[in-house]
Subunit: 551 residues, 2 copies
């Protein structure tokens, strides 16, 4: 079911019901970009991975959210899916004005998949974090409780005739029995401000003046005739109610995200780290800088997460799955020895596999659910079980995969996941080196350099440096010794390199520190020398024993 | 005429011809946002204005460019317009990957005007700056001149059966006389890399293997049968030519911007400062941090600029124009004592006023041109002239307006323009103060505070500070004296406040500087004292006249 701001209010109870009755939920999200600046390197630890994404990914916008609820049909002994594809766009007023980053290649990619950017911007549902919601709620309460206390502006000479002309027209409108409303356009913001003040003063009991934004975003002043004295109060109450309605609409999708969290159900995703980061950062709280706090925060909001990309990268799937790209995985799991489950739905409330709407968040969530069920059924079959309902009673089956988020970039090395409910893997980095090489070198020169020490993995950092990992870890010490005195290259063990880069991370600060230390040293030296000097001078002036150096 | 990447190559000669025969050109642009962070204040100098926009506006993207060429029809004695509306989107590959900012309210606004974001991203024309073009050109030349020298990767055990399976299928395809091409899909990037290597080695003389991106951005490997030995060379030459074509397409709209610059013709715009900044920054060179360099650079690229917003804000238009918002201005200039000129065009090459496509860059450029001609004709009539052709022979008419860009935010104060070909206005700021006030204060409390000193202009900076300008400039000293000892507020003259904020603008850097100066002072002091000390010591050791102080 496609959900935009047009049908969001009607859809919300349906979404709530789907979440309530589901065995598990699947999510997927689309963003305006993936990474800005330095990307993760293949040797990063989970903590470094988090820091890199926190700095490089969180300024992008989450623009589509897929939610697929898998509900067990006891009669048919199979799942049905109730899926929703939400277009999300946080518009300003009354929501917060949002500045966000886009990556041209990401938009280009989404466009090629048929993503509708016009629908996104025109009909996207708004959202905000909890702290923003609290702040805006307080502001609105505050503003509504205060009476209008705008300053009175003197009308500048040059605007007087225009203002008088319009006031005359409003007078005519009020005296004319036929019309009930009138609009005043072709005024800039300053003139509107003056008119608000003048019309409000002159026709206080006869007319209600308000600012109105037309479909094309032009602002006009709307003047409404007042029938009775209570009319002003009614119109004012209506305005306030409308402001709360609009505020609630601006909180928008955050309501859904919080329902998912509050359900505490199993939430499945494919390669879901970025989805989780953006979900927390856009609908709950800004992500903490501290990695341990992030893990705690995530586990608290989503106590059971399962990443199908991680699941498919472990035995017994690893050897049978050539590519864990989502639609490749789906195709593989549709063939023997696997089989996809039936999990269709009534028209309009879910997807069918034949819909083939790849990279539409709702559809991707749905096929991720299918992949999960196919792998779950395979595990169950291997244990000789026949019921294919996902159950946490039977937690042994899923336990190895729960709360471990796949780390795509480092997985081929040896740090394949982030463990949200326990200690992360701490793979050795003894076989990894930071290499500095001459600018004219190509990849083959590096291969040549290490040709006696087996296969290597190279990650270029810039034109003259790279990280190099040995496949033959036992040769690490030999390699370090062999290149210790090279004049053309420098080889530094990875951990030492990391320690150095962390130390020099903020050169300005360090320079300042050095300079301060130097200043202090000079002060001390000055004082010492000055004392000696004074002592000498005194000794010259009073060449007897009455002066005693006290230092 | 709408121009996208689909018809850009055909349109380019037409655009060139229009620029060539035009009397003057009009430009307009649409952006993904206006300002990020601190906006200009109403008391900013032109230099501060520039710095604020440089820091706050240049990360947004230029997404639509309107160019309207006004050409004189000597037979009809009137102008025709040849107008182009370009959709611009700098996609990566072979262009540079672009990260850019969006402001949600700006996209919302454009969407309400009917802006087609799907067309933008799917069909937008690419562009790049000159330094980027040079770098990418060198890279491509370099890459094409090098032979492929990728390292050979050992096939990991786990991928061997998949690779062998695919190699077998390719063998079958090569032996099959019917098919000419085959595509290999469902492979991740690593498998594609391995296949490239293996197929290249095993079927070197029989097959040409290349990577291909499908319409939906999926990457597959395309294998083509080779008919003869020269085939490889031909296919390779074709590939190289295609790469240059794609590169040229990626330079894209920059060609048009450079044609406009090279024409050295009068370029008109409405409120055109941001248009000029983005034009320079996206198609020419990154903007310089230094304001004087910026002015020089702009004047060099566009030697004759005219801003109709500035023109309409001066006599004889100022008093007759209530609002200088573009479509308000157009409506005003269509009525007596003004009149809009005829400047229509053949179907498909320009606009008519009745098109009413407000905020489409091409249309806005066109109506800006109409406004310019209407004001120009009015000036000419006032001087008793009858020919309405815009001429630089008759430069007196336009001279007061040339190369002065309107500064919208500060115009109501006294710094209405930036003068690209001379000294900027340097209005006095003696009547302006920086005010710090208690957090609970509202606007009315500030009005109250200044109630004895005439009308004031207030610009809030945050919850406890604002800039306050007196209308009665003669009272500046009185005000400063009156509040000198206030315990609730602090009032600092504007220039003093600016000097203070500039000093503390970068506290880290400044702290370092101070600390360095202090260190230097100490070193000098130490040397002086040490010299005196040594002199004294020497004097003690050799108490005769052989030692002479030489300092």
């Amino acid at each position: 079911m496609e959900v935009t701001r047009k049908n969001f209010q009607e859809a919300l109870p349906l979404v709530g019901a789907s979440i309530h009755k589901a065995d598990f939920l699947v999510i997927d999200a689309e963003f305006t970009g993936l990474i800005n600046g330095r990307d993760v390197t293949i040797f990063d630890s989970p903590q470094e991975y988090y820091t890199t994404l926190l700095n490089g990914s969180t300024d992008f916008l989450l623009i589509q959210y897929g939610l697929s609820a898998f509900c067990w049909d006891e009669a048919k002994k199979q799942y049905t899916n109730e899926s929703y594809n939400f277009y999300l766009f946080p518009r300003g007023r009354p929501g917060p004005e949002k500045m966000f980053l886009c990556q041209s290649s990401s938009l280009d990619f989404l466009s090629a998949q048929g993503f509708d950017f016009n629908k996104l911007i025109k009909e996207g549902i708004s959202y905000m974090t909890e702290p923003t919601e609290t702040r805006l709620r307080e502001n609105l309460t505050d503003r509504q409780s205060r009476s209008s206390d705008k300053e009175s502006i003197m009308i500048p000479e040059e605007n007087r005739s225009q203002i008088e002309g319009i006031c005359k027209k409003v007078r005519e409108f009020l005296d004319d029995a036929t019309a009930q409303e009138m609009e005043i356009d072709r005024c800039n913001a300053f003139i509107r401000r003056l008119l608000f003040q003048e019309l409000g003063t002159r026709f206080k009991t006869e007319a209600f003046v308000e600012s109105k934004v037309l479909e094309n975003k032009n602002r006009v002043l709307k003047v409404t005739k007042l029938k009775s004295a209570t009319d002003v109060k009614d119109l004012d109450t209506q305005r306030k109610e409308k402001e709360w309605e609009e505020f609630n609409e601006a909180v928008g999708f955050s309501h859904v995200a919080r329902m998912i969290s509050q359900s505490r159900k199993l939430v499945v995703g494919h390669n879901m780290l970025l989805d989780v980061l953006h979900t927390l950062n856009h609908f709950f709280q800004p992500l903490p800088a501290d990695y341990a706090s992030f893990k705690e925060f995530t586990h608290c909001m989503f106590p059971r997460l399962l990443d199908t990309k991680y699941m498919s990268s472990l035995p017994p799937f690893k050897d049978k799955v050539n590519s864990t790209v989502l639609h490749h995985l789906l195709a593989t799991l549709a063939e023997a020895p696997f089989s996809l489950p039936m999990a269709e739905s009534e028209e309009g409330r879910g997807y069918k596999r034949a819909d083939e709407k790849l990279h539409e968040a709702g559809y991707d969530a749905y096929i991720t659910g299918l992949c999960f069920l196919a792998m779950h059924a395979h595990l169950a079959r291997m244990r000789g079980e026949h019921c294919h309902r996902v159950s946490f009673m039977n937690s042994l089956l899923l336990k190895p995969f729960i709360n471990k988020l796949f780390l795509a970039k480092t997985a081929n090395q040896d740090s394949p996941y982030m463990n949200l409910a326990g200690a992360d893997p701490t793979p050795s980095r003894d076989h990894v080196f930071h290499l500095k090489f001459p600018k004219e070198w190509q990849r083959n020169d590096i291969n040549q350099l290490f040709s006696s020490y087996g296969q290597i993995t190279v990650q270029f950092l810039d034109e003259t440096s790279a990280l190099v990992g040995l496949t033959r870890r036992d040769l690490a010490k030999t390699v370090a010794r062999a290149f210790a005195n090279s004049s053309r290259i420098t080889l530094v063990p990875y951990l030492k390199y990391k320690a150095l880069t962390n130390k020099t991370a903020n050169p300005l600060e360090r320079r300042e520190e050095t300079s301060e230390k130097f200043a202090k040293l000079c002060v001390v030296l000055t004082i010492v020398i000055l004392s000696v000097f004074i002592y000498q001078v005194l000794k010259l002036l009073f060449p007897d024993d009455t002066v005693t150096a006290e230092y």
